[in-house]
Amino acid sequence: MRRYLVIALPYLWLLGLFLVPFLIVLKISLSDLNLSIPPYMPQLDPSAGWEGLKDFFSQLDFENFVFLTEDDLYWKAYLSSLKIAVVATLLTLCVGYPMAYGMARAPSEWRPTLMMLVILPFWTSFLIRVYSWMGILSNEGFLNQFLLWTGLISEPLVIMNTTTAVYIGIVYTYLPFMILPIYSALEKMDDSLLEAAEDLGCSRLQAFWLVTFPLSKSGIIAGCFLVLIPSIGEFVIPSLLGGSDTLMIGKVLWEEFFNNRDWPVASAVAVILLAILVIPIILFQRNEQKQREADG
């Protein structure tokens, strides 16, 4: 009995904080826009009894989902978010892998310090860090002032309010999520494997591609998903650093909720976003599972 209680707690947590809110959002997405508080109908009225419940369900429909397929803004936003997220993930991998590799190859007394430096930015609010990028990237920002001072450029670079700024923001923000899994895969690798590869005739570079890289594959996959999944729905970075041409679904969702006050359509956007994210999340879980089996 007590065992069930222990298991029940996390399940209750998931039920209360994930499943119930999701069902509410799902319900709103099936409702119609209405000028009321809350701004949609039908509302469930428990006092109406069985008839009221039947009436309530009969009013739910997929109208909002059909609307999403009719207006090309939405699927363009989904595709554009996916594209930005994929590109940003690959960029993060290119920046993160060498850093993780350097950390894993560093003398062991240095590793905790390097690890600390990777995690340190988390101690400052995410919003503040994104705002400070505005200070760096804007036309009168530190980067342009520095480049103008060195004489490399004569006109300030326009980075702020472009998709480039969004890429920079995502790479910067999610870099630790890329570095840590790759580092942990590289760190537990036995150094004698590289010596064995060399002993069997590999050059250093070959040894990297034939041994180090395949052995860090699970870390790379984990890191990529950890960056990809939150980036698809990212809202703060595109709205603060991106321009009007940066189309991301997180921003569309926000505007639908707060500018148009169209809760049902916004909920439908959120439900589809979730459905899209389920695929990489399942792939990520399978990768973790496979890794555990290989380690076991």
Binding site: D190, S192, L193, E195, A196, A197, E198, D199, L200, G201, C202, S203, Q206, L210, V211, P214, L215, K217, A294
Partner: protein, 378 residues
Amino acid sequence: MPANGAPIFAPWDDPDAKPLIRFENVTKRFGDFTAIDNLTLDIYEREFFALLGPSGCGKTTMMRMLAGFETPTEGKIFVGGQDMGPIAPNQRPVNMMFQSYALFPHLSVYENIAFGLRRDGKPKDEIHHRVEEMLRMVRLQKFAKRKPHQISGGQRQRVALARSLAKEPKLLLLDEPLGALDAKLREDTQFELMDIQEKTGTTFVIVTHDQEEAMTVASRIAVMDEGKVMQVSTPDRIYEFPDNAYVADFIGDVNLIEGRSSAAIDETVQIEWAEGQQAITAQTQRPIAAGQKVFYAIRPEKVTISPDRPADAVNAAQGKILDIAYLGNLSTYHVQLPTGQVIKSQMANTRRISRRPYTWEDQVWVSWTKTGGSVLEG
């Protein structure tokens, strides 16, 4: 072992034989620590050579210098007459079997063995042929498709051996190859290693801290301590004719008696070793000066135990039995002399014990012959 009439394999006794490996005044320092101290050593082709010593004696450093993972601070290493100094590990005609086996966990047994061959860019069917041959040799054909984590420790050890032999190296280095196996499997594998070494004709250099293993497999053993080679010789000479007290003590069980020697007359010396005890008469070929401090080393199995003083014994002493260790095939007796010194004697249990001939506190005599022990300079 050579058949009757075949010449005994002993290139180290042949002054014309060219060594395959030569360490020439090699010194290796790590910071202040001297791992290898001015070491000179020859190893010949087809030898099964063991580097034996306690951990930290420098034996692994020597092996890593041969493989190219460490470079000597001073001195030179030659393999087949070629100075190995400027040659990178991946260019050396040397392969190594690692203590951890270092099998690539993401590759199958087959791919592990093929790894080195593929780097040489050999044709596909030749690689396949060689891998199959190697799998047959280590009897792992059925496991070719498994990953290293799907096979047992003993099988992993055999994969590591097959992988390191696949490229037909001139020299195979084995770093504690049997360290991770349990006792029974270890014994079987030792004989398997000797078999494979003989079949392939490859020169093997094995690093081990297990003297029994070294004695079993090796044609010659180098006993090392603190970066120095204490003695290089065949297993029987290392055991029976140790050069110094360190080797005598490190290999097997020994009674070490300290004393002062008389000058040698007809290769015979008298060693005064304790007040009131008869001097030990011993044969030696070493030039011992009168009054020189020496160690007399005698193996327990060369010490006989008897209730009375044997009439013909050259060396004998009386004492009482302090301890008896029954080992099944042997019994070891610890006999305490009136001087307080304990002499170990080992007797084969050739008959089943219905009653022990000796028991605790018995007064007995220990005796040994003139040639039984070694006189070592202290």
